[in-house]
Symmetry: D2
Amino acid sequence: MRLIGANLSLVEPGVVEITLPYRADLTQQNGYVHAGIVTAIADTASGYAAFTLMPAGSAVLSVEFKVNLLRPAAGEAFRARAEVIKPGKTLTVVRADVLALNGNKQPLVATMQGTMICLPTGSEARP
Amino acid sequence: MRLIGANLSLVEPGVVEITLPYRADLTQQNGYVHAGIVTAIADTASGYAAFTLMPAGSAVLSVEFKVNLLRPAAGEAFRARAEVIKPGKTLTVVRADVLALNGNKQPLVATMQGTMICLPTGSEARP
Amino acid sequence: MRLIGANLSLVEPGVVEITLPYRADLTQQNGYVHAGIVTAIADTASGYAAFTLMPAGSAVLSVEFKVNLLRPAAGEAFRARAEVIKPGKTLTVVRADVLALNGNKQPLVATMQGTMICLPTGSEARP
Amino acid sequence: MRLIGANLSLVEPGVVEITLPYRADLTQQNGYVHAGIVTAIADTASGYAAFTLMPAGSAVLSVEFKVNLLRPAAGEAFRARAEVIKPGKTLTVVRADVLALNGNKQPLVATMQGTMICLPTGSEARP
């Protein structure tokens, strides 16, 4: 997240937002921000959202996610908002929307549905 | 891809490989390469693989993809290999595997299944 | 849908609900309704939801969908509610939630994110 | 599976096939077998494939799956072949292809990528 200049803009139990200002070096051939970057902020927000509901000392890993890219990622900034839709002791399912921020208009550019896993304190291996 | 130092290591009709050398600034808190980076090279390889089968003058966009993260992305380098499993005039379905390259061992760290769309010459809008 | 006894319980522009009464022969070894059935009603609701926004004479097909199964599908009935989140001339992205209906409690048992394609009048082939 | 007439046609460690003969009552408006049915046999084969690698006494549940529908499901019979691509103590990732069987031609009609969870003996809750 440091590499791309993203920051945590909201953290509540089960809900996290990450904001990413536009940067030319994050774009692909057509001037839009790369799908991998859009995915990275959605996945990171999803992981943190799940993490807010896990016991202290846990670690969180992404098991899988699915992204639909809905519109070109064009904007002054982007915001990924992730919300837990089903917490669990082991697995937590999260949904994340990525909006482009362009003044009043905030079109939805991508939406993600993913699964996060809680690794208890001291565990190291992916189950 | 320039930003992260990835390069095209194989291009054949319907098959593309992208190789990414390890770089400390692409890792997350635990020293593994970020899922967003793994996804970015898999998605880019998938887009190019679909593109190799499209008519000259077309553009390609990712419609959606789904990634399962299978092992920690630890390695000296990573290779995403994408293969078209169903080409189509409008939609092309692609599968991509991402391997960590560690001498003889090349564990599968992620696998992607996605859909790419062909935009004919001159079209600008996402359908 | 006839085979499993499901029916359309709500049709509005961009939103469709399908209701499925419990039937013992739709369950798997553990007494819960089979994931394939839960998926079938979510997919059908998604297709119809997309269809409500398509031009007269179009046909709709599912391109792909992703389902997270969140809780055992136990209930007197099930309701899939699908909502279009991004309509398009060719592709429409839809989200569907499946609830178990048990008196006051209506737990979310599955959630789907999928892509539907519009086939214009007279076209026959999947693009 | 009984309801739709499917049967297990191959069981090996990590690989399972399910075969479904064509039946008119499994089709949708256009005469093709419903995506929910195609998904059901792919998901069931995936669950069994994961199950073959789990300790005795375990139970298996589908966590999530993603399906791309590639061609109309037209054929005399259908075969779902599932293969474990990453076994794990808790989570197992499986890929399944569904072929239509039409004499010599066996086109791929759908492909699935999914995650199965192992519930140890005696456990009842979804984690």
